[in-house]
């Protein structure tokens, strides 16, 4: 039975779009990535799950309880970090742990103090004197300290330095190993890729993808760098599933690279750029490998599946696509 489930969940902010027919299902003991660009509806979905917003239609349940009606009971076993962490200025971690121990009716201080040490946070420092990163750490510790069965984290790494981000990732992996469930929202793909078992992508308030990471990787394209010899003729055709992204005669010699080209050619030494093709492979590698083996290319680099490309493809809106086409035409 899923620990968290939404069915056709919809909500709008008057004229503004919120979310539309969102369907999610989380199994326990998993880390679930919830991806989407800013304003896509991640926080709205999470706020409905936390009982802060009332859905216009559809259902949302956690532990088989209704998120709106049984919010208080659900929140007993949920740890939540909002997207924009704001805490009381007088709060210190120590006071926060005392407060939560009273509210939750169990002593959360021992684990809280342990986490404070792990996240290098001074327990007596008040929020008004904290940096943004320390406020984020405080919110994380307060969310984790009661060992919740479900953690709902809305962009939890924002404000954390890379070392603390690693520490958080490690901590979340431990939570999953202990059988707890994590809903991890982010707009940074690499975080989700490094952490999650399953990923849902939301765009314009609608879920556009909900797959395991392995399924997503199978769908994701790979980048291929194909180096030709200066005197050999370029290939006259490409194998199925391979698309040409860039080749040197696409542009006039000496003109500066556009930012898109620079991104494509990153990692290619300058002296090879004049005879390197950039390709994209979708699907199985075998046809391409056979095709490449028949030709005598001096160098072929086959990259890993790029979720980044998949992610960008999902998120490109009609308007941005039109903009990109217009730029290409220039």
């Amino acid at each position: 039975m899923p620990i968290l489930e939404t069915r056709d969940l919809s909500l709008s902010y008057g004229q503004r779009r919120g979310i539309e027919r969102v369907n999610l299902s989380l199994e326990s003991g998993r880390i679930f990535g919830f991806l989407g660009p800013n304003g896509a509806g991640k926080s709205t979905t999470i706020r409905v799950l936390m009982g802060l917003l009332r859905a216009a239609s559809g259902t949302a349940s956690i532990f088989n309880l209704d998120c709106w009606r049984d919010g208080a009971a659900i929140r007993r076993d949920v740890g939540y970090v909002p997207g924009d962490v704001r805490l009381y200025p007088w709060l210190t971690l120590a006071r926060g742990l005392d407060f939560l121990s009273q509210v939750r009716g169990r002593d959360v201080r021992p684990l809280g103090m342990e986490l404070a040490e792990r996240f290098a946070l001074e327990p007596k420092l008040s929020v008004r004197k904290m940096s943004r990163g320390n406020r984020q750490k405080t919110a994380l510790i307060l969310a984790l300290a009661h060992r919740p069965q479900l953690l709902i984290l809305d962009e939890p790494t924002s404000g954390l330095d890379p070392l603390m981000q690693d520490q958080l990732m490690q901590c979340l992996r431990e939570q999953a190993q202990a059988g707890r469930t994590v809903l991890f929202s982010s707009h940074t793909l690499s975080e989700v890729e490094a952490l999650c078992d399953r990923v849902a992508m939301i765009r314009n308030g609608q879920i556009v993808e909900d797959s395991s990471l392995a399924e997503l990787q199978a769908k994701a394209p790979r980048r291929i760098l194909l180096r030709l010899t200066p005197d050999s003729p370029p290939p006259d055709s490409l194998p199925p599933g391979v698309q040409l992204l860039w080749k040197p005669d696409h542009r006039q010699t000496g003109t500066p690279l556009t930012s898109a080209e620079a991104l494509l050619l990153s990692g290619i030494p300058l002296e090879h750029r004049g005879h390197t093709w950039v390709l994209q492979l979708q699907g199985s590698c075998t046809p391409f490998l056979k095709w490449a083996a028949d030709r005598n290319f001096p160098d072929v680099v086959l990259g890993p599946p790029s979720l980044e490309t998949l992610f960008r493809r999902y998120y490109v809106t009609d308007s941005t696509a039109e903009g990109a086409n217009a730029c290409a035409a220039c």
């Binding site: 706020r47 936390m50 802060l52 917003l53 929140r75 909002p82």
Partner: protein, 270 residues
Amino acid sequence: MRGLLNRIRMEMQWPCFWFSLGLFVAMGLLTALLPKVLGNIHEMFERLPLIKPLITALLGVDPGDNLSAQLSQAFLWTHPTVLTLIWAWELMYCSRLPAGEIDRGTADFLMCLPASRTTLFVTESLGWLSSGLLILTAGYSGHLLATSFVHPEMRLTLRSTLMVLSNLAALYLAVGGLAFLLSALSDRRGRAIGSVFAILLASFLVNFLAQFQTWAKQVSWLSMMEYYRPAIVIQNDAFPLADIAVLLAIAAATWTAALAVICRRSICTV
């Protein structure tokens, strides 16, 4: 609930202390000084004719050319300093949930605790009631202490004082209930405070204009100040049961409506 009450204590103990001290001092000073100042009120009425309608509006009765000893004591309970201190406290306190919490961004933290919105609101209301008790007791203590410096003939009887205090407590409840309701309907604390302030100001203005304008007299029953008239209570020496009942009805209706709104509304921070 203990944790939630402790949170309120942490946040509000010092403001409550300062408001209580302020009211203690203000009521003490006014009790001691008003009889002396108001002894020559007829001269003031001659020099500044606008003072008389103002005092009439505050007292709810025409003081004539000279204020009686008892009426001058009634003036204490409607003095703008006293009412301002009490209302300022109420506006500050009762606009915290949910408007204040949304405004400062802490609503997510508070409302995602394992407590229902009813529990949060009831806890907040308990803090409001107990702080009101403290503040009114402080004011009364200031008054009581200062009466020893007042001529015995100028003193109010304990019975009259307690009747006026009951009326003031009912007004406290009505204003607080209204503030809770407007806070529940708003996402901005400033807007909630401004709305309550505007209603209180309108109440006072209607009471003031009722002396000159027939239309204002006709709608004066809408004014909250119409149900808080210490001068009449002292003059008649009768418990203002009807006035208190109206104020308590306003308090109950607005508080219940506030609870209903808080339990049903979405908490939007975007």
